[in-house]
Symmetry: C5
Subunit: 95 residues, 5 copies
Amino acid sequence: MLLGRVVGTLVASRKEATMEGLKFLVVRQIDVDDADTSGYVVAVDGVGAGVGEVVMYATGSSARQTAATRDRPCDAVIMAIVDTWEVGGDVKYVK
Amino acid sequence: MLLGRVVGTLVASRKEATMEGLKFLVVRQIDVDDADTSGYVVAVDGVGAGVGEVVMYATGSSARQTAATRDRPCDAVIMAIVDTWEVGGDVKYVK
Amino acid sequence: MLLGRVVGTLVASRKEATMEGLKFLVVRQIDVDDADTSGYVVAVDGVGAGVGEVVMYATGSSARQTAATRDRPCDAVIMAIVDTWEVGGDVKYVK
Amino acid sequence: MLLGRVVGTLVASRKEATMEGLKFLVVRQIDVDDADTSGYVVAVDGVGAGVGEVVMYATGSSARQTAATRDRPCDAVIMAIVDTWEVGGDVKYVK
Amino acid sequence: MLLGRVVGTLVASRKEATMEGLKFLVVRQIDVDDADTSGYVVAVDGVGAGVGEVVMYATGSSARQTAATRDRPCDAVIMAIVDTWEVGGDVKYVK
């Protein structure tokens, strides 16, 4: 999984029927020092994440292993809201 | 999913038989500020997208989770036409 | 899918038994302006492509969704020979 | 698989229910000379790895081929703790 | 598939039980001119490859489509030993 910060929301009224009712969040990828990278993904929210929260997301077929996304054309899902992580003994982020 | 702008169309008369009848669109990947990137993909259209529209596309096995693409050698599908998104409270795109 | 130009052929006599009889083509990835990129892939030919032709290829599990490649350790397949495409109203390639 | 060094731990109390009880480790990708790269992944631990250890991890659907991760939204798993490797006859790492 | 040169071997005694008995090879990715790139992968050997040989490897779920790797947490497999390839009429490599 990769780390990201939810930076925004997206609306798409015309979409695959199986995607109806899902929430799309714009996620900026961050590195292990909690700094922004140039990467992003639009992910389906599986855990009730909100703008500003730091999350973990899974991509590819693993993004379909949730009740919300199974058998749907979804290749990125937020599967956890991060409380904290540390690297080399230093706390890099606390919610 | 990633964001893209449909910039063109592609014709391939000789192809896997299971790909007959599908529409191929040339999609320029864009970033969350609606700016072009160097990335592109040729995607199958699952939602009636047209040239000039901003779309979301799914790749990998997730691209086969639509009626049009199931069990076909397709690794990119347009699964939504984007109405709008915002980042940090700023509207970045409106259809 | 991505666009590529078939630039060569490859022979591998010692290989997974399920790959016997398949044709391996060296494919240079090209961009939407028909210019070479630094990327390449060795793909199984599913459509009778020849050296010099511009093709579309699928990667990952989607590369196994053809009669030739199903259930085989193949992660790239040529699934179409391109006739033409256009970007922004300009024809970028004609066979 | 890629090589990585376990550099930290991550806690996420709010997550997909199927991810309960799994251990998340922050893994810095390393190259074949045992030098750090800019890449990282947060991986589920399948083998009892600890901070400081050099591991191999698998990504994508292959990350779900363990008892701990099957059918879960997990796209990276540590599937081995590395004892040693050599390149060109030189031992690059010994545990 | 991508081209690589087997540059070394790796030992990991503590690993997923399903990976027991598999041979891990360190593979340097090469380009179509037979030159080294910065990429590498640790791949399971499916064809009896040895150090110094040029091989083709498959990644992702396709890496599990061999008898040795099926249903295992393996995302890279050597599925062929390369005899020769040519690009633009020039032989780039002969075993």
